[in-house]
């Protein structure tokens, strides 16, 4: 295939497919073992400074927020983030100093809630480095290539734009149609966290509702930590195996964290906590406010359980469940 154009973005998380196969053979667990551990241990064991990180879910939906708070608490540094519709997750990771480089599909925004004051400030003041751009399908298909064990995936997006020019993709002549075609390189994040509705102790995981990119991401990531609302008996998974999205051999650790997606939405269980996100959007308008937030909600609490108590505990979680089940109306300070 003739290369017609080359994007100028750096190639992040790419490995030769044979090198990756060998890595998997040497490092991934192929025997069903109990992988349960504490969040603190999982983060310290599997997240290393300098890693390429991709979070599961989609910004405000089914994100392993508990892991994000723990990375901030452990002062992880120089992480490169795959900004795959990274919203609240990205905002916290960037403004806390954990993430210093980012490949952007969608970042620095909170969707309907507006832009992210804290992480935008970091970019505009040159305090973090934007490495390149890509589209959401581009990111998804980078993970898909990785999940298939292939070096790249062809696609018909990004062509003709500066999103392409700032990406690490290529434009080639398709040998079949003769038309220009985009190739996105495979992407193997060093580490990913996926928050699942339930999984067993081995990491066989089930997700209810939209899977977004997580089917591919779970297979693409070199190290995968499953955080889950509930660790269930092996029989629960085996009774409905077609519901399993991630098999045990992809998972390196299993961490039970009820409400672990808070303040993001966990479909069917609890809606996003718009009051808490609103508080963040307001306080993060200044560096001092941002620091105060992290002091209060991360450093001054021992762990995620204490954080949940601090944000309103059981009563708050019941209200978010009622909103999720449409028994109560959402109110959002940012909409007032």
């Amino acid at each position: 295939m003739d290369v017609v154009l080359k994007g100028e973005g750096p190639l992040l998380g790419w490995h030769d497919p044979d090198e990756q196969r060998k890595w998997i053979r040497a490092n991934k667990p192929r025997r069903m073992t109990d992988k349960r551990m504490e969040l603190k241990q999982a983060v310290s064991k599997f997240v290393s400074d300098g890693d390429l990180l991709a979070m599961g879910g989609f910004g405000h939906v089914r994100v392993s927020m508990a892991a994000i708070y723990e990375m901030i608490r452990q002062k992880k540094r120089n992480i490169t983030l795959s900004g795959k519709t990274a919203t609240h997750d990205c905002d916290l990771l960037v403004s806390s100093g954990v993430v210093s480089r980012i490949e952007v599909a969608y970042s620095f925004g909170h969707e309907l809630r507006g832009l992210s004051p804290a992480s935008r400030r970091m970019v505009e003041q040159g305090r973090i480095q934007v490495l390149g751009e890509i589209s959401n399908a581009g990111v998804q298909w980078r993970f898909k290539a990785a999940a298939m064990g292939l070096p790249f995936m062809p696609a018909r997006v990004m062509l003709g734009t500066e999103t392409f020019a700032k990406s690490s993709s290529l434009v080639v002549k398709d040998p079949f149609s003769g038309k220009n075609l985009l190739l996105v390189p495979a992407c193997y994040p060093d580490v990913s966290f996926v928050h699942a509705h339930r999984c067993d102790r081995f990491g066989n995981s089930q997700i209810d509702g939209v899977s977004i990119m997580d089917w591919d991401l779970a297979r693409a990531a070199r190290r995968l930590i499953i955080t889950t609302e509930k660790v269930v008996d092996d029989d629960v998974i085996r009774s409905e195996p077609s519901k399993t999205m991630i098999p045990f051999f992809c998972a390196d650790a299993v961490v039970e964290v009820p409400y672990g997606s808070h303040p993001a939405n966990m479909p069917f269980l609890y809606y996003s906590d718009e009051e808490h996100i609103g508080e963040w959007l307001k306080t993060s308008k200044t560096d001092a406010g941002t620091e105060m937030y992290f002091q209060k909600y991360v450093h001054d609490v021992k762990g995620f359980d204490e954080y949940i108590e601090l944000v309103g505990g059981k009563k708050k979680m019941e209200n978010l469940r009622d909103i999720e089940l449409l028994k109560a109306q959402t109110t959002a300070p940012w909409a007032e």
């Binding site: 519709t85 751009e133 298909w141």
Partner: protein, 256 residues
């Protein structure tokens, strides 16, 4: 411009809801595009299928979603799938319309949602493509909903995030984008714009009630094609306004 008894957001939602034919598939984000499609389904075109990029297909949306993947985007849906599945479907040709917002647009309907100012040290860093580039690349017809003024309707974009007609007729196909796709309508607080068939340049089609052709020109920095006859959109009906406030966006996230 005359003073209006309804908000421009309501006018834009009403005008957008009339652009889609019944039975069409629409890939939409949250916010105003979503509101317009919810309105279309509740009024003129009950058989429009809404698709969300994160995997929700044909939801019966109870209240306005805040995120493009939140649980409202697949409430009583026929399928809750993946971004891969939705974007692949669009790449196959199943999706008739894509709905987008934008910070800047040029005369060929190319849009910017990435940066204002220089890329390396932006005056304002915006979220980037997200699914925007994919929607604008893969759907048969793209509808863009945005505010119109001289800083937004520009001669040259600060960054070309999502393809319109690129630099003119045939450019999309030469770049390798699917044939016969591209921007279809642009809906703003001033009116509805389309694209001239032969030049692929933006053309005024209709103004909202109380808005003049001069108002539209004064808020466009590039040369806009203005035909002899320009239509006028209709005012939102009382029923449309009731639906927007009471059913579609009861928490007033967008309709204020």
């Amino acid at each position: 411009m005359q003073k209006q008894a309804f908000s421009t957001v309501e006018q834009m939602a009403s005008a957008t809801s009339k652009l889609i034919e019944d039975g069409a598939t629409v890939l939409t984000g949250s916010g105003l595009p979503m509101i317009a499609m919810a309105l279309a389904i509740r009024t003129r075109t009950p058989n429009v299928t809404i698709i969300f990029e994160a995997g929700g297909i044909a939801p019966q949306i109870p209240v306005l979603p805040i995120s493009v993947s939140d649980s409202r985007t697949f409430y009583k849906a026929v399928m809750a799938t993946s971004l891969d599945s939705v974007m692949s479907t669009a790449q196959q040709g199943y999706v008739d319309y894509g709905m987008l917002g934008a910070a800047q647009i040029d005369m060929y309907g190319n849009i910017n949602t990435t940066v204002i100012g220089p890329y390396d040290r932006p005056k304002a860093r915006l979220p980037g493509s997200g699914g925007g580039n994919d929607v604008g690349s893969l759907c048969w017809k793209t509808i863009i909903i945005m505010q119109q003024d001289r800083k937004r309707f520009v001669k040259k974009l600060d960054f070309l995030t999502t393809p319109g007609y690129l630099n003119g007729p045939g450019a999309r196909e030469r770049a390798g984008l699917p044939e016969g796709t591209g921007p279809y309508r642009v809906v703003t607080q001033l009116g509805v714009l389309g694209f001239d068939e032969s030049t692929k340049r933006m053309m005024l089609l209709a103004v909202h009630p109380g808005v003049s052709v001069e108002d539209v020109k004064a808020n466009t920095d590039f040369d806009l094609i203005v035909p002899h006859e320009v239509d006028m959109t209709s005012l939102p009906t009382a029923e449309e306004i009731r639906l927007l406030h009471k059913e579609i966006d009861p928490s007033h996230f967008v309709i204020r």
